[in-house]
Subunit: 383 residues, 2 copies
């Protein structure tokens, strides 16, 4: 490394996570290149190729232009990454870790082998097994497709196998790898997320635990740090994240989404092996943002400090309201009334429900910054 004048990171996928990685690349003087799906991607500024990431030749050609490959999303076919690795390409996180992110059943099996805390779960292959699990767990369960789900897609609350008959046909099951994942419906007091990062040398750092609020399966609000947490809970949370990161061989940023139960247990719900919506607060709220940390980690550079820049941070997502409002037309009013709030939009075309941006405030008084952020969001949404 010491003889190189630039460190070159390649990001597969041109979404908002790739876009937000461009910022620390500029600051640190890193060379960032993006393999985007379309010409007008959110990360178009750094897109050096537009192509199909499910085609080996495309990804291989892209890989030749960078020192390390990393990701905006977890959808690149494993076989492609394995072939690249076999040819000596540096892929971070490596395919063996991403295998767990791409298949929720593989993930559950590995977390079980690591004795990590989770909701009760089973792999089911037919209606009978599913109904039995439901009966054993109070008449309700969470059914998930092992692959292809995100932001609430591929997840269903079921009280009978009849409610999942479309996923249980032989054709559908085959598409999911022959099995569905069923989990107990946890009675939780809240959802939290533990964000951390690990580099290939094994260095690990965690941000403070955050509280996440979902709306229709999509992250709506994040409070950092999670209010009312005990030191014991914080310690437990970081220990879980470290165990997951090491046990699954994750590099880069890892988000562990968990349920906090009434008896103060933390149960792992989902994992993401990339910067995550629950960590957007860190752009302003942490000494090192999750996007900077991800770049440092995948380049095997030492990790930055993760302490907060202020006692409190709050982040609220901007979801598209219709096909017209890109929020930019409301900037003048929002900025005039809320000069301390930081508005982020991702340069995406408008669509109802789409993650179009987010708004963050940091400060000394939790209720004050929450009020600022929600008022700003209100203006941006409604004009």
């Amino acid at each position: 490394m010491s003889n190189k004048s630039k460190l070159r990171v390649g990001v597969i996928g041109g979404g908002q996570l790739a876009r937000m990685m461009i910022v620390p690349a500029i600051n640190l003087g890193l060379d960032i290149k993006v393999l985007a799906e379309t010409e007008d991607s959110s990360a178009a500024l750094a897109a050096t190729m537009v192509g199909d990431y499910t085609k080996f030749d495309v990804v291989q050609e892209f890989a030749k232009t960078v020192d390390v490959i990393t990701f905006d999303h977890e959808h690149v076919p494993l076989e492609i990454l394995q072939k690249l690795e076999a040819k000596g390409v540096n892929v971070q996180p490596p395919s063996k870790a991403l295998a767990f992110a791409q298949n929720k059943l593989h993930m559950r099996r590995q977390l079980s082998a690591l004795n990590l805390p989770m909701p009760e779960w089973a792999a089911v292959t037919d209606a009978e097994e599913l109904d039995q699990f439901i009966a054993d767990h109070g008449g309700v369960a969470i059914l998930k497709t092992p692959i292809g789900g995100y932001d609430g897609k591929g997840v269903r609350v079921v009280r009978s196998a009849d409610e999942a008959s479309d996923w249980l046909t032989p054709e559908a099951l085959a598409g999911f790898g022959g099995e569905l994942l069923v989990e107990e419906k946890v009675e939780f007091v809240r959802e939290v997320a533990q964000l951390s990062a690990r580099n290939p040398s094994g260095e690990f750092k965690a941000w403070p635990l955050v509280q996440t609020t979902q709306s229709n399966g999509v992250c709506a609000e994040v409070l950092a740090p999670a209010p009312g947490t005990t030191p014991a809970l914080l310690e437990l949370s970081v220990a879980i994240a470290a165990h997951v990161a090491e046990g699954l061989g994750v590099t880069g940023v890892l988000a562990v989404e968990m349920f906090q139960t009434t008896d103060a247990r933390l149960l792992i719900n989902e994992l993401a092996m990339r910067p995550h919506n629950s960590g957007h607060f860190s752009i302003e709220g942490s000494v090192t943002s999750q996007f900077e940390q991800h770049l440092r980690a995948v380049l095997d550079l030492p990790l930055g400090e993760t302490e907060m820049t202020a006692p409190y941070a709050i982040m609220v997502n901007l979801l598209g309201v219709d096909s017209k409002n890109t929020f930019v037309g409301q900037y003048r009013k929002a900025m005039a009334l809320h000069p301390t709030v930081k508005i982020h939009t991702y340069g995406k075309s408008a669509r109802s429900g789409r993650k179009m941006g987010h708004v963050t405030a940091v400060g000394q008084i939790e209720s004050a910054i929450a009020s600022e952020v929600w008022q700003t969001v209100g203006i941006l949404l409604n004009g």
Copy 2:
């Protein structure tokens, strides 16, 4: 504006200031385009044109692609900007303000008309006038070329007109517009800079006064806020900046570099009508960075809050040591030992004395962050 889905800013010049403007453009979802001098400019990521900014046709073609033109530097010929403005192009800061930034004699005359505090000065056209000024001011003076100077170039300490004979030839004088600027050599206790921003609607906001330390005419270290300042001095400083911004019709970021005298006066030394080295601390050290504020200001959006994110910030420049060290090879060591420090490099090729990057730390204890930053700089410079 309310019907537009994107706001488009065009920056003339592809240096590090343009590079650092890309960051808030990404965050705010603004469309940023750069007219760069070369293919491998510091701001290449956002360069949509490479061309000669001294050619009207080039600049006009670029201007057609954006909503407002602003600058990485102050060297675009005034005639070009005036012609663009006559054709209805939105130029910020406008040519009438830039005229003062491009000619130090025009600037001194206008500041005098505004009764703003300055070193004593005169326009001289020959050796006799220069020697008279020197004799009237203790046998020493600061001689400046009215145009073309920056970072210590075009500035000379003189004790006799003989020391400026090369600038006093008819040919040389003609190149400077027929006159040189001579100023008293001020006995100052320190140099300070007042950074502020103003938008075309007249909104004005200032950051805290900072202390700057120069080395060989180049900014070396900035402390924010300037240590040991009285409320009266802070008030005076902001009042001066506001008077300059309004009096000269400046929009965007304005840096007023001043001498603080032993009797607590502030005397205006230089002005810059763009983001400035003395404001780099604001990237991490202020709720709104100077680069975000500049974009907001030139787009006539409301200005962001300028309070600091921590009690203290320190910024130290990374000047090139030779033609090989781009500092990236020392990242591993620097980051491992100093995880709270933020390293910035500008993607420029290495050259001795060149501004290649800077290092910032913010925190609660001034001496602690200063130690962190200087140790980091030491590693980056020496390996």
